[in-house]
């Protein structure tokens, strides 16, 4: 680009220079030109050497040149430029510059001179194209090139690749090359290949092993069967890990959404049906932040964490002051009133923002996935949400166990009258607790915006699940919420493959309903006086 600008500038300054001259000098300065120029010889042996030179040049355009050369589309114009013919049917052919890739309009075949090749060169080119990127100094390109070779090896490539294995500096590339070669050998029924493929999880390796079970040599077939069995075993483990990962991911979402509820419901005894809508507010805060900071989704997301907490906490305080404080000791009425608030908040978002879902951008460092092996890769955003859930949990644990507020909250929970007579301002504690629980809902919303659609119904989808988690874990017990959330997530994911998503959910709900009958106070019931409620 800079070179182009430089030359463009030069052209402007020296306006009298004919543009063709400028182009020629541009060509001269391009190392690709001299590479291509070496192809412009008569001797096929020299051409072969030129191909090797191009192969080792690490020019990004090498693949295109070699392919064009193989197809006979790399041609030279009378004035010494190299072009690639895009379509060689008809009288005049559309061409582009081989160096810059610029379209040069149409040229008649008379103006062009094809660079001829023979059969030996053709074979050389074919394997050269397959391995062209293996010579790149860029590790990433070498790796993707090696990935592409799996299952693509034929007799010629086999000969080309075998020496390359020794030379490969990168461990990953070497392993891939060995695999590629082994797949070829296995498909030919060779023992060496089967042995090398044992333990490989790549689907192509499995295909090759499957084929080798029909090999003529019974020893090879047996070995292939054994290898396949161990691969299947290995895959099963990997699938298990994957299910566990998805389960924990779902579980951590459940924990995030339920833990705020565990505070307001478990500690204060307040049923907040608008909890889901507070999550929705957190998610919309993220969206809003990204609208305010266009182009910086990562920064916006980081800022949304405190902002989402604040927005939801303030909304929570407003709800507590305006409604809940008047319904103290009437849990069922609180439930109905907060349900009304949830309807109002939903409709508010629909009216003010939009009834449609909004997209929240996932920052680059959170997208993509962590590749463990050929059969297992973990999506990064879920990993982040898991870590975030854990962080929130630990922070809440510390607040409840180690701070003055936590102490006061526990005191008011256990015996309100006595706590008040000890000088604790119970009303203030109520407000703070409710704000804390609501703020955590906001945090959950920020995290959820990275996993699901942000829409007015976001909260509704989670409220029943969150209540289930709290009730299942035992009310007023943060550890219970953690264990319940994670285990429900995992159970759901284990059931899903054979029951389907909806049926899995139904089974989990029915399971909890039955579980509550058996242990009405959840997994970890409160003991002592706090249990009287």
């Amino acid at each position: 680009m800079r070179r182009f600008l430089f030359w463009a500038l030069l052209c402007l300054l020296a306006g009298f220079l004919p543009s063709a001259a400028a182009q020629t000098s541009a060509q001269d300065s391009d190392p690709g030109y001299s590479l291509l120029e070496t192809l412009n010889v008569d001797s096929y042996r020299d051409k072969g050497e030129a191909i090797t030179a191009i192969l080792q040049s690490d020019d990004e355009r090498a693949r295109g040149w070699l392919q064009a050369l193989l197809d006979g589309r790399l041609q030279r114009t009378d004035d010494g430029r190299f072009v690639i013919v895009l379509n060689n049917t008809g009288r005049s052919w559309p061409v582009e510059d081989a160096l810059s890739g610029e379209p040069l309009g149409e040229m008649s075949r008379r103006e062009l001179d094809r660079i001829g090749i023979n059969n030996a060169l053709r074979n050389q080119l074919r394997s050269a194209i397959a391995v062209v990127d293996l010579y790149s100094p860029n590790v990433e390109r070498r790796r993707t090139s090696a990935d592409r070779l799996l299952g693509e090896v034929d007799d010629e490539l086999f000969d080309t690749l075998t020496p390359l294995i020794e030379d490969a500096e990168d461990d990953y590339v070497r392993r891939r090359l060995i695999q590629a070669v082994a797949i070829y050998q296995t498909e030919n029924g060779e023992m060496a290949g089967v042995e090398a493929l044992a333990g490989s999880l790549h689907p192509r390796a499995r295909v090759a092993l499957n084929r080798a079970t029909n090999a003529e040599n019974p020893a090879v077939a047996d070995a292939a069967r054994a290898a396949l069995a161990s691969v299947e075993q290995n895959l099963k483990i990997n699938r298990g890990v994957e299910t566990l990962y998805f389960g924990l991911s779902l579980g951590s979402v459940l924990v995030l959404s339920a833990i705020g509820l565990a505070i307001t419901f478990g500690v204060m005894g307040v049923i907040n049906m608008a909890h889901g809508e507070l999550m929705m507010l957190g998610a919309y805060t993220t969206w809003m932040m990204q609208q305010l900071l266009p182009g910086q989704p990562g920064l916006a997301l980081m800022l949304s964490i405190p902002a989402g907490f604040l927005v939801a906490a303030l909304a929570g305080i407003a709800i507590e002051r305006s409604v809940i404080q008047f319904l103290k000791g009437r849990p069922l009425e609180t439930l109905l009133a907060t349900f009304g608030i949830s309807l109002i908040l939903q409709q508010l978002v629909r009216t003010v923002i939009s009834p449609l879902n909004r997209t929240v951008i996932t920052p680059e460092w959170m997208s993509g996935s962590l590749v463990i092996n050929d059969a297992l890769s973990l999506t990064l955003n879920r990993l982040f949400v898991m870590g975030f859930a854990l962080l929130v949990f630990v922070a809440l644990m510390l607040i409840m166990r180690r701070t003055r507020l936590g102490l006061e909250v526990r005191a008011v929970t256990q015996n309100r009258a006595m706590a008040r007579s000890m000088g604790i301002r119970a009303t203030r504690v109520d407000i703070m607790t409710f704000a804390l629980g609501s703020g955590v809902a906001g945090l959950a919303g920020v995290a959820l915006s990275q996993l699901t659609n942000v829409g007015p119904n976001l909260g509704q989808n989670y409220i029943i699940d969150s209540f289930m988690v709290v009730v299942f874990g035992g009310v007023g017990n943060l550890w219970g919420t953690l264990v319940a959330g994670l285990s429900l997530g995992v159970i759901n994911q284990i059931l899903e493959p054979w029951a389907g998503a909806v049926l899995a959910k139904i089974i989990v709900l029915v399971f909890i309903i039955l579980f509550i009958q058996k242990r009405p106070r959840g997994l970890f019931p409160q003991k002592g006086r706090a249990a009287e409620g």
Partner: protein, 379 residues
């Protein structure tokens, strides 16, 4: 409510001696009569004529009112806030819907004499076993009572035996209806999935689209409401009803006195579920469709709002609440649909904070300074 020692020997006849019941039945039957006369006798062009659409709408309100009475029975007198009564309503509705589906016979789009259209569409070759018998009216009508009753019996037996009460019970009833909604959305369940059951043609041989049938359904809903009301009144004024109220106000104390609280709870819960089922069965032919949205937790919690607005533990309050809220809904969704959820949400807040005894509470407040409604009734 009042527990005057009445001289009536038979418990089901006792409500008729109450002034409130007499008044309620009087107003109800007067309303039924007026609507019928205005519909049939007044010519179409007249301003006083009540058209078939309105009759149908009133019929729908009456079935909702019966549902509200059922919820009031458990919430007002037993202290059980069920957030899943929509499930019993919907199951009753589905039982009726299945009967109506079978009545279509070979007049469906695909013309299959036995299978409903959606089953043909899904390539089912025979009726699932639970659809058998629904071509007979008596069986279907029995199922309207038995299916919700059985679900309530199993659920209630498990719940009350292990003393799940209060908020916990509310939450798991909500989970119950949510799980059922998800289940009924599945095509594999054999209840028409997402679309539910619809395209009904006739009930007991009467064309569902004719205005006479609609009037008949309206009157049937009114009569069912009256019967349901009297039944509930009879229950709450009986000795059993007093145990229920005692349970509501002090469950542990009632248990210590020696009453098997869970049996009373179970009995009343099952009766209430059956009433809800009847309401659903009356609702379905009038609206012409039943689909899984009736199972949605939102609908169930709306029913509770009707009762709360009308005033709970009065029964007639539930009727007033159901009609008021649904009338408001019809008006609002017609005029400004966006505002309806604001209004509904606002109602939830206002009623619970400012009008804990509902509209009925206002009445009794005007009539007498000292309301007999127990102030302790918190749960």
């Amino acid at each position: 409510m009042t527990f005057q020692a009445t001289s009536s020997r038979f418990w089901l006849a006792r409500p008729f001696t109450e002034r409130a019941t007499q008044l309620f039945l009087g107003v109800l039957f007067a309303a039924l009569l007026i609507v019928t006369v205005l519909h049939v006798a007044v010519p179409q062009g007249s301003a006083l004529h009540v058209n078939a659409y309105t009759v149908n709408l009133f019929g729908k309100y009456l079935s909702y009112a019966l549902l509200a009475v059922a919820v009031d029975l458990v919430w007002g007198y037993l202290g059980i806030l069920s957030l899943g009564h929509g499930a019993f309503f919907a199951i009753g509705g589905y039982a009726m819907g299945m009967y109506l589906m079978r009545q279509i016979g070979d007049r469906g789009t695909y013309g299959d004499p036995v299978l409903p259209d959606f089953m043909v569409f899904l390539n089912w070759d025979s009726l699932p076993w639970y659809w058998l018998g629904f071509d007979m009216a008596w069986f279907a009508f029995a199922m309207v009572l038995l299916a919700p009753g059985l679900l309530a019996l199993i659920f209630g037996f498990l719940a009350f035996r292990s003393r799940v009460t209060g908020v916990y019970l509310s939450i798991i009833t909500q989970a119950l209806t949510f799980a059922l909604m998800l289940a009924f959305f599945r095509n594999e369940m054999g209840f028409g999935g997402n679309n539910g059951l619809t395209d009904f043609r006739e009930i007991l041989g009467f064309n569902l689209r004719s205005s006479d049938t609609r009037l008949g359904l309206f009157l049937a809903s009114g009569v069912a409401l009256a019967l349901g009301y009297v039944l509930c009144r009879a229950i709450v004024t009986s000795k059993l009803g007093r145990v229920c109220v005692a349970t509501r106000d002090a469950e542990a104390r009632t248990r210590f006195i020696g009453y098997r609280v869970e049996r009373f709870q179970l009995f009343v819960f099952v009766v209430s579920a059956m009433l809800a089922g009847v309401a659903g069965a009356l609702y379905v032919p009038q609206v012409g469709i039943i689909n899984p949205s009736e199972f949605s937790p939102l609908f169930s919690i709306e029913i509770v709002l009707w009762v709360a607005l009308g005033g709970r533990a009065t029964l007639y309050g539930a009727v007033i609440g159901a009609i008021l809220v649904n009338y408001a809904k019809t008006v609002f969704t017609g005029v400004m649909p966006d505002a309806w959820l604001f209004a509904l949400g606002g109602l939830f807040v206002l009623v619970t904070v400012l009008l804990p005894k509902g509209v009925a509470g206002l009445f009794s407040h005007l009539r007498r300074r000292d309301s007999t409604y127990s102030r302790e009734a918190s749960a």
